[in-house]
Subunit: 201 residues, 2 copies
């Protein structure tokens, strides 16, 4: 005998397909939605249905854009310097860098990081388009803004090799102590990088 | 300038209405769904739209049932003893008790616990229907199976007062050490309850 109605079980099953959502969290979400008005459930359902309908990728930078736009406004904006390109893993990294207010160049979203374990090779990423763009836009500096993880480092290394015979200046985001972290709580690798990259005052 | 397409922002906003889901988790869910096939997004959207369409409450026990059923099968099943009623807070508590395989009575879902801080008084709960049912089904035992929290205790106390002039036997789930917990890690209240409720061997 099924203990919960089928429609509720179906929703719980559907919600557990989300990353990091287990049976318990899915039950909690489903039961919360059930106790509230159906308008809230419908709002989420509509937003889900509009996602693939209205969102696409910029064919040059691979940043996320609305289907009503042709290119990312962070690329077409004439105040942005097209000769400087920051390479990031995904679209949310663009938001993170933009929020610093420190960057006036353009972006190139790789769509992932090289990770042989997960079967992601260079061919799965938007690297060919990057090489094309470097020529077309006369790019002078490429900032490797992938994360400081193993995959981020391997991807940066791969791109470095791809670009070593060009005149493009390659830079990498600084690695070191995050602001606010007590020295004694920093891990050895971070501390090692901070020491290695020490600056003259 | 909006950094993310509107449809993506809308979905992130919609997902943050779920309990315990912050901006970061919502972004993670939305981005995950965007990178996968639209069939997955549609599956969740459909399950959401079916929820309120197909799920309702049993008018006697207030357990969750499909709209195609009239009453909860845990009530109509003739092998269940209608004279014993376990009072629980919500529908998932029914599942938890059923999964023990130890209970052959019926259930009554209160739909919450008395909590003056949250504005939930006895009138918001299915208590009148419980009193009716006790008469109609000749209930002999009511098991107060609310949780061992402040609200669970107040609700149990309130029900105890409502039923003190009837011949119904009132019982409460045992409180004490959970299985597998080391004595030294038990909190004082739990340990106090375990001592108070000690049994002769």
């Amino acid at each position: 005998m099924a203990l919960l109605p089928k429609a509720l079980e179906d929703l719980i099953d559907a919600l557990t397909t989300l990353p990091g959502v287990g049976r318990r969290s899915a039950e909690r979400y489903a039961y919360y939605l059930l106790r509230r008005d159906s308008s809230r459930t419908d709002a989420i359902a509509n937003a889900l249905q509009n996602l693939h309908k209205n969102v696409t990728y910029c064919p040059i930078t691979f940043a996320l854009i609305s289907k009503s736009e042709e290119l990312s406004s962070l690329y077409t904006d004439t105040r942005r310097d097209k000769s400087i390109v920051a390479i990031v893993e995904d679209a949310f990294d663009v938001v993170a860098l933009e929020n610093t207010g420190h960057f006036k160049g353009t972006y190139h979203v790789l769509g992932g990081l090289i990770s042989p374990i997960d079967g992601i090779g260079p061919d799965s990423l938007h690297i060919d388009q990057l090489l094309l763009r470097i020529k077309k836009d006369n790019v002078t500096e490429v900032i490797l803004a992938t994360s400081a993880s193993v995959e981020g480092e391997s991807t940066a290394l791969y791109l470095q090799k791809q670009l070593e015979n060009t005149s493009v200046k390659l830079t990498r985001l600084a690695q070191g102590l995050p602001i606010g972290l007590d020295l004694e709580y920093a891990d050895q690798i971070t501390l090692g990088k901070a020491l290695e990259g020490r600056r003259l005052l």
